[in-house]
């Protein structure tokens, strides 16, 4: 299979056309908005915790973006359900990239990671933990 065929392989297109976890949560325990300034793609992430206030019960997302960003975020919602907030807040991006399983150019890597980055910001904000280096100011899109 060529690299090209892999990038738009069936599983990516399936997640793009039938995104899991697409929608919003009215009473989300954690939420954040993310934007890719290179292409204007936007994603909003909503998280509901379980009774222990730590386990991720459900993740929903809304927004608009390319097949790679939408499919990656869709996969992410399945991947993190049932795991703890602190674990996901420091999730190694390689785990998601392995799941996506396609070769990505540096530009498309940003597409693939938009959902994960936004989810991490949502979790850090909800838990009051400081944003890791590189994510500071991520959620402050208002013009000054």
């Amino acid at each position: 299979m060529s690299e090209f065929d892999q990038m738009y392989r069936e599983v990516i297109l399936d997640h793009y056309k039938n995104p899991r976890g697409h929608g919003t949560l009215d009473d989300a325990d954690a939420e954040a908005d993310g934007q890719n300034p290179l292409c204007g793609d936007e994603v909003s992430i909503y998280v509901a915790f379980g009774e222990d206030g730590e386990t991720i019960d459900e993740v929903k997302f809304s927004g608009r973006g390319c097949a790679i960003s939408q499919a990656a975020t869709s996969m992410l919602t399945e991947m993190v359900a049932g795991r703890t907030a602190s674990e996901v807040a420091s999730l190694d991006k390689e785990e998601l990239l392995e799941e996506i399983g396609i070769p990505l150019t540096p530009v498309r890597l940003k597409c693939a990671l938009l959902g994960l980055t936004t989810l991490k910001v949502a979790l850090h904000k909800a838990k009051g933990t400081p944003l890791p280096e590189g994510l500071a100011g991520f959620d402050e899109l208002e013009l000054t």
């Binding site: 297109l13 292409c39 204007g40 097949a67 790679i68 939408q70």
Partner: protein, 414 residues
């Protein structure tokens, strides 16, 4: 017998001047439809720069040796060419900058910091590139002045009718706008705007980055007060552009960048500024890039700006017709006769990033994104568009290749 033949641009012959086309991309001929992003460079420009490095390079304006003289002549010769290209009254009104963005920042800072305050307004449009929008937004607000954006109407045309209302509330000091939209290709009719602005005592700052490569830009005919161009969009290298400004305005302005070359005298007590254009050219200039810009101007003049413009209208018309055949396509922008060689579009249900990625496999290079026009994208209600753009080397077969590629894109997402 005299034959009055309609002269036409020979794009195929010109294309042979561009070495970039001597290769296959993914095994396919290159369809380079991304010239509005940055243009390709003809052999004449590349050679002029190489030759200059090999025979004439030294620093300018300070060396007394022969190479210094040649280099200075090269730089100043390029300035004269750009001045003639823009029909500037004087060469000293042409300031070399990195690109149009830097030229527009120069005006925003060096003019804006001395001329804007509370009660004043700067007017831009919803169709601006960020290079106009952001510097004037920043400087206006920093000075306590109002930053006003005139909206687009339902046909994606600038609605200038709000100008009088803005003037009723604020003292309009500047109108900053593009001559050709980089996203939609719309060619603006600035004449009434310039008249209106000058009646108010306001200046007009013109972003001609997307206009200068494609049609005759005459600063005297336009009547604007400042005008910025980028070399890289008009067959010249990146890293060089020009700002033209009226001498009487430039002379009254404070400098933008400070340092070497832009001074008259430096003492502990006081530093005085040099003459135009040097006052605005601190540090060593992009000398060889300027020589490249001069060579590009020669190249475009030889091809003929009127012929380039006609060629692009023809390509735009062909592209609009061919693209309309593609199911699920939305085309943005004005009719072909009022647009430069730029066509923005979207395919239903397929993000521009995916379109551009798949087109690349067909050897087709387009731009996908917001084109540094997020206010416009907001107006259109989309995060991004696809943009195919043409230049003097573009041939209709490239548009056919684009249309074939788009059918391929739709197959992937079928």
């Amino acid at each position: 017998m005299a034959v009055t033949a309609q002269r036409k641009l020979d794009a195929r012959a010109l294309r042979a001047d561009f070495p970039i086309f001597e290769q296959l991309i993914h095994g396919k001929p290159l369809a380079y439809l991304d010239s509005a992003n940055s243009s390709q460079k003809p052999r004449q420009v590349i050679d002029a720069m190489s030759e200059f490095y090999e025979t004439s390079y030294a620093n300018v304006h300070r060396a007394v040796h022969v190479l210094g003289e040649r280099a200075t002549a090269g730089l100043e010769g390029a300035r004269d060419k750009v001045a003639a290209f823009l029909n500037a009254p004087e060469s000293r009104e042409v300031i070399f900058v990195r690109n149009a963005t830097e030229g527009l920042n120069l005006v925003a800072y060096a003019w804006g910091l001395s001329n804007l305050g509370p009660g004043d307004a700067v007017v831009v449009t919803e169709l601006e590139h960020h290079s106009v929008f952001v510097p004037f937004q920043y400087i206006a607000r920093r000075q306590g002045a109002e930053f006003v954006m005139l909206p687009l109407d339902e046909h994606d045309e600038v609605d200038w009718s709000g100008l009088d209302e803005v003037a009723a509330t604020y003292n309009v000091k500047a109108v900053a706008t593009n001559l050709v939209s980089n996203s939609l290709g719309t060619i603006a009719d600035l004449a009434p705007i310039v008249r209106w602005a000058h009646d108010q005592g306001a200046i007009v700052v013109c972003d001609a980055a997307q206009a200068a490569p494609h049609l005759r830009v005459d600063v005297q005919a336009l009547g604007v007060d400042f005008l910025a161009i980028s070399g890289h969009k008009m067959c010249a290298p990146s890293g060089i552009g020009a700002l033209w400004g009226r001498a009487e305005l430039l002379e009254k302005m404070e400098p933008f960048l400070l340092g070497g070359h832009m001074i008259s005298s430096v003492r502990y007590e006081k530093t005085t500024w040099g003459e135009l254009p040097h006052k605005f050219e601190a540090g060593t200039s992009p000398i060889v890039e300027a020589v490249g810009l001069g060579a590009a101007v020669d190249y475009l003049e030889a091809a003929g700006l009127d012929l380039i413009e006609a060629h692009e209208h023809e390509l735009a018309a062909y592209a609009l017709t061919r693209l309309a055949e593609v199911p699920g396509i939305t085309l943005y922008g004005p009719p072909a006769d009022r647009r430069a060689g730029v066509v923005s579009f979207n395919l239903e249900g397929i993000h521009p990033h995916d379109v551009a990625q798949i087109l690349d496999r067909y050897g087709v290079a387009i731009r996908a994104g917001h084109h540094c026009c997020q206010p416009l994208m907001h107006h259109l209600g989309v995060p991004a568009t696809n943009r195919a753009s043409f230049y003097l080397y573009t041939i209709p077969e490239e548009i056919d290749q684009l249309v074939d590629g788009l059918h391929g894109v739709q197959e992937v997402f079928a």
